[in-house]
Each structure stands twice: as structure tokens, then as C-alpha cells.
């Protein structure tokens, strides 16, 4: 063993769940990697970090950040130390997400059909109709197999006692799955043999399961339906992911301009004439999907695609209008939905959430704003958030004004500390906060969750925001087999 330990002086902040340490001792699932890291010299760890960076660059695993009108290719920061999820933890996550997703699918079907949940007074009608992501055009539309959410990226965080909480449901176009796959490929390279030694479950099957599900949604009952991935184009920040998924599934990656609608069917323009498209995995938001119905200025979508969808001539994944279910104001009601549709108690808890449209709750939040995180109900990517404990008086003052303009647009949650895990930063192990986004796939044969996910880390010291647009990075996520 080295005389100098890279874990020396690793500070576990009080009141925080650390993934690796419990009361100064290494948790048993981390024992293997801990010993390995202790056994290699620092220079080798630096070399591994270099190798990881080089691999990301040479494979073009980059995203684009826009600043001053110019797109810059960047590597999504990757921390080489894997995050470990035990078999028991995974079991409860898997069950909890499966349950939640079942309820959310039933909710979407209900909202766009009979609306029993509103009639029974479980969810208030105004909350639904005031949601900007509620799509009136979807009312009464039947979708294949009644599946609305085919791909969900539900974010989980851990409180100081290690309990997992659902932070948000991403049911529209969740991204990050390519990082789940690529991070694992990189870890195989930088830590040879460590994965088999630790009995880590594989994640490479994700594209195959997704492809199988997409094929099974084809409205035409033919042996080889045409499946495509629809991307906003190569300037989109997640373009790498779109092209990776298309390649790993062996399907065409298309842009809006590659498609057209004729006689309520969608076609792809090919060198051999038009080819009918059966299933579209779209990574374009609802708003931009069909300029005839939604944003008329959109050049990313396809005119008439909604009519083809409503006629059942094409399957669109995820369904249109899912935003009504992952709206942060609706989030509050998900535990109720689970009880209402499934007659079960929720297995995974929500983070306590205050709705600012309610007077009492609003007062409580504004009085205790230092201890709150305030978010926009339709926001994402960590934009437009107020972290009460870190904000200046001026920021709080301005934000309060915003809230009072339209309280429906805001929710607040008490600051949850988020669990921490060791990251290799500047030649030392340092604790950083993280979350977990497993990817659940829902097909006609049920819900499958690939054992793994995207672990996002807030790389700034003390930061609680893990979003990549806010200086977040990621880790490989190891789910251990029992």
C-alpha cells in the first residue's frame, strides 16, 4: 500500500449520504474499487484520466454549447471513478420506477380520453388546462397499445439518510442514454478487468430493446417496418446521442426536411423514391413537430405529421402531449395517481413540493426562501432555478417578483442535500453531489429498465446542480448483480 493515500482527508460533509463512506469506513460494495485505487500510483490515475478524455474526443462524443452565437464542441466532463448501485438498491429503484411509469401511462391515457381522474377530483382541472404542454389536439386520439411513455428518464436523488426520492419525471425526450453506454465503454478501457471482477451488470442491450419496442409499434403489420430517428439536426446539443442511437439500432437518422406527409401517411425521401415510414422516434419537441398545428415557424418538423399520427398511420415515440404528465406542478399529484390507478402505495417517494399557486404554501415558501429551491414548472436543464441558500438578496427579490406575476409557473422544494461520491479532481479524491437517471423502456411486452443509468455529478465544490449546462459531469454507473 502507498504511504500516501489519495483518499486521505476525504471530507464527508456532515448531514450528507456519501456513496462510498459510512462513518469513516468504506462501504462494502466499494471495497473492490477502493483497494484497486489504493494500489496504483497517482501517475497512472492521471494517465487513465487523460486516456478517457482522448477517447471521448476521438470518438466524437461531444455536445455543443452555444455562446455568442457560436457553437463550441465540448466533452461532457467525465469522472473516472464509477458510481455503484447495489443489487438491493437497484431492485427497489426498478420496482418503484416500473410502478410510477405504469401510473403515468394510465394518467396520460385518462387525460386524453375520459378524464376520470379530474371528474373524481383527484387532480384539479385547471392545473391540466393551464399546463402549456397539454395538447388539445391529442384529445380522443388512440395511440398504439395505449403506451404514451415509451422512454422515460426519471431522475432520482438521495437524501441524507440514503433514501431515494424521485426528483422529476422526464417523459418527453429524455437524453443522456448514449452517455450511459459510452461511459461504460470508456470504463472498460481505463480500468481493464475491474468490471467483471465486480460483477457489474451490462448495459449494451439498451439499443436492442429499444429497437425491438419501436418495431413492435408499427401500425402496418409487416415484417420489416421502417423505423427512423428524427433529430432537430447536427447543431442540436444532443446530436451525438441521436446519431449513436440510430447507428446502434441500424435505422435511418432523419431531419424534418427528409420527411413529407402525403394522404395522411409519412414518407421518407430516398434516392429510390418515397418510402413509407412506420415508426418515428423523435427527438424534436412537440412545439416544433408540426408547423401546421404547433409553432408555424418551425423548420424542424413535418407539415401534416399530426394528422398522420391521429389517423394511426404512423407511431410517434414518445407520444405527443406527454409534457402534461412531467410538468412540475403535476409531479405533486403522481403519488395520488399511483393510489388512484393502481391502488398501491408509491414505492419511491416524491420530494416534498410546494405549489406557489396555493396561497398558504406560497407564503411558507416566500418566508423560508433561504431553505428552498424554486423551479419553473415547465423548465428543464437547470435553467431558471433559484437556489435559496446560495442566492443573493437581489436575486431573491427579482425572483419573487417573477413568482408573483404567475404563481402557476412555479413550485418550490426544500433543499435536499443530494448524496455525494468521490470524484478524482486535481489529483485528489473529493466528494461531489450526484443524482441518478435510469432509462426505462416501455413496450407492448412490459417495462424494462436497463441496469444502469446516467449518474450526473455537480463538479463545482458544494454545488447541488448536476445539469450539464450548469457545469455538471457524469460517471459510469455500476449496478451490481446479486
Amino acid at each position: 500500500m502507498n504511504s500516501f493515500s489519495i483518499f486521505e482527508g476525504y471530507p464527508v460533509s456532515p448531514g450528507t449520504w456519501d456513496e462510498m463512506y459510512a462513518a469513516g469506513k468504506v462501504r462494502s460494495p466499494y471495497q473492490g474499487i477502493y483497494e484497486f485505487l489504493q494500489s496504483i500510483p497517482l501517475e497512472e490515475l492521471n494517465r487513465k484520466e487523460e486516456l478517457a478524455k482522448r477517447l471521448f474526443m476521438s470518438q466524437g462524443i461531444t455536445f455543443t454549447v452555444y455562446s455568442s452565437g457560436e457553437g463550441i464542441e465540448k466533452i461532457f466532463p467525465f469522472d473516472i471513478i464509477p458510481r455503484i448501485v447495489t443489487a438491493a438498491e437497484w431492485d427497489s429503484i426498478e420496482k418503484g420506477i416500473t410502478q410510477r411509469l405504469k401510473a403515468l401511462n394510465l394518467f396520460l391515457k385518462d387525460i386524453y380520453h375520459d378524464q376520470f381522474i379530474i371528474k373524481d377530483g383527484v387532480v384539479p382541472a385547471d392545473l391540466i388546462y393551464s399546463c402549456p404542454h397539454y395538447i388539445r389536439e391529442m384529445q380522443g386520439v388512440n395511440v398504439p397499445h395505449d403506451i404514451y411513455v415509451h422512454i422515460a428518464g426519471i431522475d432520482l436523488i438521495r437524501d441524507h439518510d440514503g433514501t431515494f426520492y424521485i426528483l422529476e419525471d422526464n417523459l418527453r425526450t429524455p437524453s443522456g442514454v448514449s452517455y450511459m453506454i459510452e461511459n461504460r465503454e470508456i470504463t472498460k478501457r481505463i480500468f481493464p478487468d475491474l468490471i467483471p471482477q465486480n460483477n457489474v451488470r451490462p448495459v449494451t442491450q439498451y439499443p436492442n430493446i429499444l429497437h425491438k419496442n419501436l418495431v413492435s409499434l408499427s401500425p402496418r403489420k409487416i415484417s420489416n417496418p421502417t423505423v427512423v430517428v428524427l433529430t432537430p439536426g447536427m447543431y442540436n446539443s444532443a446530436y451525438f446521442e441521436h446519431s449513436t442511437l440510430a447507428r446502434l439500432m441500424g435505422v435511418e437518422l432523419v431531419e424534418g426536411r427528409d420527411l413529407l406527409v402525403d394522404n395522411h401517411c409519412v414518407f421518407m425521401k430516398t434516392t429510390n423514391g418515397l418510402q413509407q415510414v412506420d415508426v418515428i422516434y423523435r427527438r424534436v419537441d412537440d412545439d416544433y413537430l408540426d408547423p401546421l398545428v404547433f409553432n408555424p415557424a418551425s423548420e424542424l418538423g413535418v407539415s401534416g405529421i399530426l394528422s398522420a399520427y391521429r389517423k394511426g398511420n404512423v407511431a410517434i415515440v414518445n407520444a405527443i402531449g406527454n409534457g402534461v404528465a412531467d410538468d412540475k406542478a403535476i409531479y405533486v399529484y403522481v403519488p395520488e395517481m399511483i393510489r388512484y390507478y393502481l391502488n398501491e402505495e408509491p414505492l419511491l417517494k416524491n420530494v416534498p413540493t410546494f405549489q406557489l399557486k396555493n396561497k398558504d404554501e406560497s407564503k411558507h415558501v416566500l418566508d423560508n426562501i433561504q431553505k428552498m429551491v424554486v423551479k419553473k414548472t415547465n423548465g428543464s436543464g437547470g435553467y431558471g432555478m433559484l437556489m435559496g441558500h446560495a442566492a443573493t438578496d437581489e436575486e431573491i427579490f427579482d425572483y419573487k417578483k417573477e413568482i408573483l406575476k404567475d404563481p402557476r409557473q412555479f413550485i418550490a422544494q426544500p433543499v435536499i442535500s443530494l448524496s455525494s461520491a468521490p470524484c478524482y479532481i486535481n489529483g485528489k479524491m473529493q466528494p461531489r453531489r450526484l443524482d441518478l437517471r435510469p432509462f426505462a423502456l416501455c413496450g407492448p411486452s412490459g417495462i424494462e429498465i436497463v441496469p444502469g443509468g446516467l449518474t450526473r455529478v455537480a463538479l463545482k465544490e458544494g454545488s447541488l446542480v448536476v445539469n450539464s449546462s450548469q457545469g455538471g459531469g457524469s460517471k459510469d454507473t455500476w449496478v451490481l448483480s446479486a
Binding site: 472498460k188 460483477n199 451488470r201 442491450q205 447507428r247
Partner: protein, 310 residues
Amino acid sequence: MSRVADSLFWMSRYIERTDGILRMLKINYASSQDNTSEFGWKPVLNTFSFLDQPTVAQIEMDSRSVLQFMVIDKDNPNSVVNMVTRSRENARSVQDHITKEVWQCLNEFYHLVRDEKLSWSLKNEDPITVLDALIRQAMLYYGTTEVTMSRGEGMCFMSIGRYLERAIQATDILKVKFKDLSADAEKMADPSYWKYFLMSISGYELYLKNYRSGFEAKNILDQVIFNISFPRSVHYSVYQAQRYFDRLKSERNRDSFDKVNFMIGKLRSNIKFSNVDSIIQDGLPNYLDKISLELFSVGSALNQHYFAYS
């Protein structure tokens, strides 16, 4: 000159085999890191080495030993280091018939694979980095021959060697893979088994695009034997070998040409006018054995009619 033709033929064959082995090793190693059920090196060892079964059983679970055996072990006649050495020996004797660039490329390959740092890395670091560096050198060879060699008789013999070797490899791999399977129905249904197999012959992406219904043994046979747009299929390789052989036609060597031409033509027709259903009906092992046999007899006919200079 016959001697020259012989050397060029083998120079090329050895690099083709090297490339095939390296890719196979890379993907198999990657799959060993994926912790998939019951990974083992047995199929690779059975395809590319002459080890007896007890020895195979001894090392088949140990990736590092297999990699060292297959890449840098001088006692293994089929190791990369030995094949590159042989290719270089062949090139050395015909330096005036290959371009300076090709010779330099093989020379670099030889020194790279014998580099001690490389063998240390293969033992202690990320093997994929090492295998990638070697594969890149093979790619450099292909590119350099393509861009610098004149399109004469020499290039024809090199190409025939390359494609004959490729066809033999494809057949051998299929024999081992499907023999392995007949004993194990569970593997037959395991998607990751097929996925890694296709990746190891650079055919995974093509397969996904062509066959939409998941992994089926029949479709895999179809791609690896018959698909003419798959550059590692038996059919493509035989077709290319035939094309290059055609260019050797000359009045002076009429008899020899006709004999070998007949054999290649017969082999090609045999593939062209079969399909997966017909070969399964006849028995896959029989069919593959027959193809192998014909490939080998083309090789020995070339030897007899073109290279024999004693």
C-alpha cells in the same frame, strides 16, 4: 517470376490473417469486459490456433494469457508477431516488386509488434489500445498498397491471396461458431453472443440495417456466406478473388489458367446457386467443409500451376 508471385501472395495472405485475428481479439476482449454470461475464448482459440483441447481449457478463461499467446508468443506459429514476421520476410525478398512505401509499412509493423513497450502494455494496460495500434498498422498496409502499387500481375497475386485468405477465415469462423452452438441451444437464443460475433467480423452495423427481426442463425449465415455487399462474406471474397484471377489470363499460360479458373468458377457457382435453406437441408457442416476443401484446392492449384518453380 513464380518466386515473386508466390512471395507477394503470401505477404498479402499473412496480413489479411493478422487483421482478421486482431479484430477478433479486440471484440472478444471487449465482450470479456462486459461480464456477459459464460464468456470464453474457446471459439477464437479453436479457429486461430493449433492448441489441443486440454490446453485450450486451461487458458480459455484468462484473457491476458490468450492475448499474449495470440499476439506476441513466438512459439505460437499463428501469433500476430510470427505472421507479421513472415509477411515481412516475403516482402523482403521481393522489395523491387513492391513500392518503397509498402515495404516501409511492413517494416514498421514488424518493429511495432516486437516492441517491448507494446508487450508490456498488452500485459498490464488497456489491451484495446494495443490492438487498435496494430489494426491501424494493417489498415495502413491496405491503404498504402491501394494507393501506391501499380496494377500489374503482382497486385493481382496480392489481391488473390488476400481474398482467398478472407474466404477461408469466414468459413473457419462459421464452422467453429456453429459447431459450438449445436451443442448449446441456449447460446443460440442469446443476442449478445451473435452481437459480438458480428462485431468481430465488422458486420454488426450491416446486419442491423439488413435484418430487422433480431438475431437469427439463418440471417447470420446469409450475411456471412452469401451477402455480396458484405466485404467479409465468403461470396464477396470468392468473387473478388475470381475478378483478380481473371486478369492473369494470357495465351502463354493457357492450360494453367484454365485449370485454376475452372476451380474458382465452380466454387463461385456453388455459392451463387445455393441459399440458406438449401445448405441447411444438406447439412451446414457438410456444406462448410465442402467450401473449405474447394478453397484449399484453389490454393494448392495456384501453388502447382503458378508458384511451383522447383
